[in-house]
Structures are given as C-alpha cells and as structure tokens.
C-alpha cells in the first residue's frame, strides 16, 4: 500500500485512515464480544480492548511500512 493517499492533489497519510478504520473495527468487535457474553469470563476488559486495537492497527500499519 502507498504511504500517502492522493486526495484531489493533497497528500494524505494512509496511517491516519487506517487508525480510524482500526478504531471502528475494534469498537464493533467489542460490541460483538459483549453480545456473546464473553466479558463474563475476562479479567480486565479494557486491556483486551486495547490489545485488539493494537493488533488491528499493527497489522494494518505493517501492510504500509514493510
């Protein structure tokens, strides 16, 4: 993937877009886990949330900067 997106002549960092997408995805996964009642079995939900986000954003970022 290119490091910068070309938006009508303006260069736009891909990472910023990926950040937003990763945020939205982890938000959706979070709700999905709660609907399956999985949070009953977890010790520290915020840590899982952060980890999911870090995973998604990390994987997406690796596609750009590799």
């Amino acid at each position: 993937m290119p490091r910068e997106l070309d938006l009508a002549g303006l260069m736009f960092p891909t990472l910023l877009v990926l950040l937003l997408i990763a945020g939205i995805c982890s938000w959706l996964i979070d709700g999905w886990l709660a609907r399956l009642n999985l949070y009953r079995w977890l010790w520290f939900a915020p840590l899982l949330r952060l980890s999911i986000f870090a995973l998604l954003f990390g994987v997406a970022g690796l596609q750009v900067y590799r």
Binding site: L19, G31, A34, R35, N37, A45, P46
Partner: protein, 703 residues
C-alpha cells in the same frame, strides 16, 4: 522489587488519605501521567504543536473512565468534521478573505445553534467542529498555503491526546460508571416502590410526596447522563442500550401517572364526603401491597412479573354508593377518573417491571419491543437559533476588527471569542464559567512567564522538561478536582500548555507569551461581552422561553405524530423542568413553573391517550371530528391564554363527555368508550389545575 515498593506506597496512601482524597490523588496522578505521555509521544513523532495533545488530555480529563471516553469520542468527531468544513470552505472561497470569513461565521453560528440544541455530550462535538474550523481556517484566511498540513497536524495531535487520555483512564485503576448506573436503577425503583406504596395508603404528607417526586424526576436525568457515558465505557451497557432507554421511558410514564394519582387523591380528600377517597384507597390496595416488597435486582424483577400480571388483571374499578354519586356529580366524575387511573398505573408498573427484568441478559430475545422514541435532552429551536445568531454576530464583529486593524494576534483573538461563545452557549448563567476561565487564563500567563523565563532554559531533554512542568500541571489538575474551581483549573491548564510547552524547535520569547496571553484574555472578554449585549441570557428571559417551550409541548401532544409520542413529550417536558431547576431565580418562581410543567404533562398524557384510542379503534371513528375540535380549543387556549379560551376548552370537553356517555356519538358502549371518557375526565381535571396557575389573562401592568 519496585512492584512491592509501589504496593507499599499504595497501602500507606490508603491509610493516610480519606476516600475523597484518595480519589483526588488518583485523578491528579492519572491526568498528569496521561499528559506527559502525550507530550512525549508527540515530541517523538515530531508533531507541530505537542501542546495541543496535552491540552486535549486535560480537556477530556474526568475522574470516571466513561466520561473521559464519551468526551474523547465526541471531541474526535468534532475535530474531524471541523477540519473538513474548514478545508471545504477554503477550497470554495478561500481566495476572498471577507467572503471566507463570513461563511466561517455562518458555520460557527450553525455549530453554536447545534451545541445549544443538544444538551448532552453531542453539544461538545458541535462546539469542537465550530472551534476547529476556526483554528484551521483563520490563519489560512490570509495565506491559504498552510491550511492542509495544519488541519492534518491538528487532527493527529488531537487524536494522539485522546488516545493517551483514554488508555490511561481505562488501564490505570479505572473508575467505572456502570456500578453507579446499576445502583441508580435499583435504588430508584426501590425508592419509588416504597414511596408509592405509602402514598397509595395515604401515609405520606404532601411535602414529603413532593420531595419524593422531585428526587425521582432528577434521577431520570441522572440516569440518562450516566447511560450516555457508560455507553462508551462498557460494551455490555452498549448492548443493553435500547433496554436502558426503555426502562427510563417507562419509569417516566409511570411517574407521571403516579403524580396524577397523588393529585386525584388530594382532590378526593377535599371532597365533602369521604366515600371517594375510601374507594380509591381500596382499589389501589393490591398495588400498594405488591410495592411494599420491591425487587432489589433485575433478576428479582423478572421473577415478580407473573405476580404483578395477576394483580393487574384482578384490579377492580372504584365503586361509589348510588345515592352519593347522584348527590355529588363532580365526585362521581373524579371516581370514574380514578378507576381508569388505577388500571393504567397497574399496567405501567407492569410495563416498567418487564423492561427492568429484561436487563438481566444481554442477548436479543424475540419479544424485544421496537426502540422507543429517543429521549434527547433538547433545547427548543428558538433558543438554539437565537444563540446561533449571537455567535454569528460576535464572530463577524471580531473578524472585522481583526481585518481592519491587522493585529498579528487577530486569529487567536477571534478564536478565543468563538470558544467562549460556543462553549457556554446554553449555560444558564454564562458569566460565572467565563469569569473562571478568564481567571485561569490570567494565572496561566503569570505562571507561564515564570516557568518560561526561569525554568525552561535549564531543560535539556524530555526528563528535565517533565520535571519542570509537573508541579504546574499538578496544581492545575488539583484546582480542577474542586467542583467550584473546575473552570479555573481547566482554563489554567489549557492556556499554560499553549503558552509554555515548547515546539520541537523551542523559541522562548517573553514578548510573544505576553502578546499571545493578551489575545486570549481580550478574546475571552469579547466573547463574554456578547452574552450580555446580544440576546441577553438573563434568568427572566430564560424562564419566559422555557415557559413558552413547555406550552408548545401541549401543542405537540395535540398534533404530533402518534408514534412514540408519550415518551417524546414526557422526555421533553421533564428535560424542560430540569432546565427550569438550574435557572438562577427565586425558588418560588421555579417551583410554580415546575408544577405547571407537571400539570401540563398530565394533560398531555390524557390527550395522547384519547388520540390513541380514537386512532386504534374503528368503532370510535365517529369521535374523530369532535376530538379534533376539542384539541383545537386546547391549542388555542395554550397559544393565547385567556379566561374565555379556557372556558371554551372546558366546555368542549364537557360536551364531548356528555355526547359520549349519552350514546349520541357511539353506539353501543364498549370498554374503549369508557376508557376514552376516563381520559377526557383526566384531561379536564388537569386543565382545571393548569388554569388555576397560569391561563388567566395577564394583568395590564405586566405589559
């Protein structure tokens, strides 16, 4: 080793500090850590202004994680929209500064109107989108080149700050709001049930009942704001969101009928014979007995549903000895109202118990009702538009001043006046928070100068910078932790960071700090001035506006679309009543207006009920016309209150009741017909009470 030491420090702190102090220390610790983390990361990333990230951390700083996340989410949203708006405006009319600035002023006006209209967290997104558009657009009004990189860096800085604040508040000793929400729902139901059971039996006097009612109404608002914040904090709350809204809506409906009951009981107590009140107490006794042992948790509530269902099915209508009914027709009418009211109370209790019990599990079940009308704390459109106009005018004037004088700090000056106008757009008494912000700004200029001249030169790397900044930051957050000094603390931190925190290439210049500080303070004062000059925000005009909005709700009840109407009107009126409560005016004035709102709510309920009955039952079709005429009379009575209009409305109700009971309108009599008659009785009773207070013609000298 260090973990053990940390634990020991924690144990010592626990012993030394009272619980409140512990909270404060934790809040200060978390905020400062988050701010330093944001500073370090933005210096590492080489962002243009690391101060923005720090400021963001402090702006969203709250003791509870849910509040931080909610504020952070809306701040991010507002920043993105604001940047986009500024760029669009620059692309389309950036070449002509005057044109660009006027469009920008219109945009800010729109945002301020939105901020005034939505009184929950969404207001914050509106403020931010206006403010960010200014921040990105104003410097670009003169030279357009830098706008896009500036917008990008602004977005990155804000997102970084939000990220740090959220992560720290969630990961380090999170202070959850969900337990508060759960405790609120449980405690509220218990309080209601115990109070209601006493009121049903006549064991509570008028003052105590009024106090109970006021407290429970307040909890409706509190639950709404807790729910809105917990939504961001906890995925399980998010999944249950619809049901939580439903519980709150059902609670409101139940409370309104409860209020109607209280008033009816009082009226019956004043009656010349006590047969009426005795019949009422007898009829409601099964409900009183049921409420004596309220469910403590959602699971218990789910278990009680079957019991209550049986009780409600067996509720009996009130009976009055034939001779008494003949002698006192007024009493007979009240008793008929009472029968319907007790039945309705039972059904609403059941409804609330069902939605309360449904909170037990997170998954969807087949019997989930469609989402009710949303309860959004709204200000009325009129207020929102006047506030938007005010901000538009003041932005335009300060922009003209900037363009005419060519003041180099002009953008900062305009920006700060906009901030003030937007942030406090809907505050009941904007002078107080603005004054606090100005105080904070002044302190920040003084301390900022000291820090920049005597301390900053000694910093060599991030560690020394952090050591130098920490005492000031601790001071600011400490100020924030006092509710009455919150504004001072926030103002101080925001401007201190803006003034002092170095860019990647530091250039400490005392004159620049003074210039910048001057633009901040003058901008604030200009913004503050606009509140007192354009559309004054005094308590009297505010009460007048709220009164008018309350009256409009009756109009909505008469003519609004029926879908979810009860919840909508309920939410609106209760929200307006809560806005009345925070107006700085003498308590007896507020009390009168609040009572007026409750009476109105009762009338609105009766109206909606009558409309629903006529709408749903084809055999009542013949009443459509007369009901419409009746509603027109009531609307007229609201719009132009006068004794004549009120008499006309009451006469219209009487004649419709007479037509219904004599059988000239509908043949043969059905249970729905009786319900309709009862609803009309209730409407009449409510209207009589309202007219007692307000719908008399204004005395001549009032004009």
């Amino acid at each position: 080793m260090s973990a053990v030491a940390l634990k020991r420090v924690g144990a010592v702190l626990q012993e030394v500090l009272p619980p409140k102090g512990r909270q404060t220390v934790l809040f200060i610790f978390k905020s400062v850590i988050a701010a330093l983390l944001a500073l370090w990361l933005s210096l590492r990333f080489g962002l243009d202004r690391p101060s923005t990230s720090m400021v963001t951390v402090f702006i969203v700083a709250q003791p509870q994680s849910g509040l931080v996340l909610a504020k952070a989410a809306y701040r991010a949203l507002g920043t993105l929209i604001g940047c986009a708006a500024a760029l669009v405006l620059l692309w389309t009319c950036g070449s002509v500064p005057e044109l660009f600035l006027s469009f920008l002023a219109v945009w800010i006006g729109l945002c301020a109107a939105g901020a005034a209209r939505f009184r929950d967290f969404k207001a914050y997104a509106f403020v931010l989108s206006g403010y960010t558009a200014c921040l990105v657009g104003l410097p670009a009004a003169i030279t357009t080149d830098g706008a896009f990189p500036m917008a990008l860096s602004r977005v990155s800085e804000v997102l970084l700050g939000i990220f740090c604040a959220s992560v720290v508040s969630e990961l380090i000793a999170p202070q959850k709001m969900v337990p508060m929400l759960v405790a609120l729902i449980r405690g509220r139901y218990r309080d209601f049930a115990e109070g209601a059971s006493k009121v049903f039996r006549g064991e509570l006097d008028e003052a105590a009942t009024a106090a109970l009612h006021k407290r429970l109404s307040g909890e409706i608002m509190r639950m709404e704001s807790l729910r809105a914040a917990a939504y961001f904090e906890d995925a399980e709350t998010r999944v249950r969101n619809v049901r939580l809204r439903q519980v709150n809506g059902d609670f409101m409906t139940m409370l309104t009928s409860f209020h109607a009951f209280e008033r009816l009981a009082r009226r019956l107590e004043r009656a010349p014979v006590n047969d009426g009140i005795r019949a009422l107490r007898l009829a409601v006794e099964p409900l009183a007995a049921f409420l004596e042992k309220p469910a403590g948790t959602a699971a218990e509530a789910a278990g009680q549903i079957a019991v209550l269902e049986r009780i409600v099915k067996e509720l009996e209508p009130l009976s009055l000895p034939g001779s008494v009914a003949a002698a006192y027709p007024e009493l007979a009418r009240d008793v008929a109202t009472g029968s319907a009211l007790v039945q309705q109370l039972g059904e609403e209790l059941l409804q609330h118990l069902r939605s309360y019990g449904a909170l037990v599990d997170a998954g969807w079940t087949a019997d989930d009702r469609p989402s009710p009308a949303r309860f959004v704390p709204h200000a009325d459109m009129r207020t929102a538009i006047t506030i938007g106009m005010r901000v538009l005018i003041s932005t335009a004037i300060s922009s003209i001043f900037w363009l005419e004088t060519g003041w180099p700090q002009g953008p900062g000056f305009v920006l700060n006046s906009v901030v003030v106008c937007c942030l406090f757009a809907a505050a009941p008494r904007p002078e107080a928070p603005i004054g606090q912000m100005v105080q904070g700004a002044i302190i920040s200029v003084i301390l900022g100068l000291i820090c920049a001249m005597f301390l900053l030169p000694y910093t060599t790397d991030f560690l020394t910078l952090a050591v130098v900044l920490t005492p000031f930051l601790v001071l600011g957050v400490w100020l924030m932790s006092f509710p009455q000094l919150f504004g001072v603390g926030t103002g101080f931190l925001v401007f201190f960071c803006t003034l002092v925190v170095p860019a990647p290439k530091p250039q400490v210049d005392p004159t620049a700090i003074i210039e910048l500080g001057l633009s901040i303070v003058v901008g604030f004062m200009t913004g503050g001035l606009s509140f007192s000059v354009f559309v004054p925000a005094g308590p009297d005009s505010r009460l007048r506006r709220l009164h008018a909005s309350l009256r409009d709700q009756l109009d909505i009840a008469c003519h609004g679309s029926l879908k979810g109407l009860v919840h909508r009107v309920d939410g609106q009126v209760r929200d307006l009543i809560s806005q009345v409560a925070i107006t700085p005016a003498p308590p007896e004035k507020l009390g009168a207006l609040q009572d007026y709102g409750l009476d109105l709510l009762e009338a609105a309920h009766a109206i909606v009920q009558a409309r629903q009955l006529v709408d749903e039952h084809p055999e009542l079709q013949s009443c459509v016309r007369s009901l419409r005429d009746l509603l027109d009379c009531i609307v007229e009575c609201c719009r132009r209150p006068s004794t004549a209009a009120r008499e006309r409305a009451l006469a219209a109700i009487e004649s419709m009741i007479a037509a219904l009971t004599s059988g000239t309108l509908v043949q043969p009599p059905t249970p729905e017909l009786n319900e309709l008659v009862a609803a009309l009785h209730r409407l009449r009773a409510a209207l009589v009470d309202i007219t007692d207070f307000y719908l008399t013609p204004e005395p001549a000298h009032a004009a």
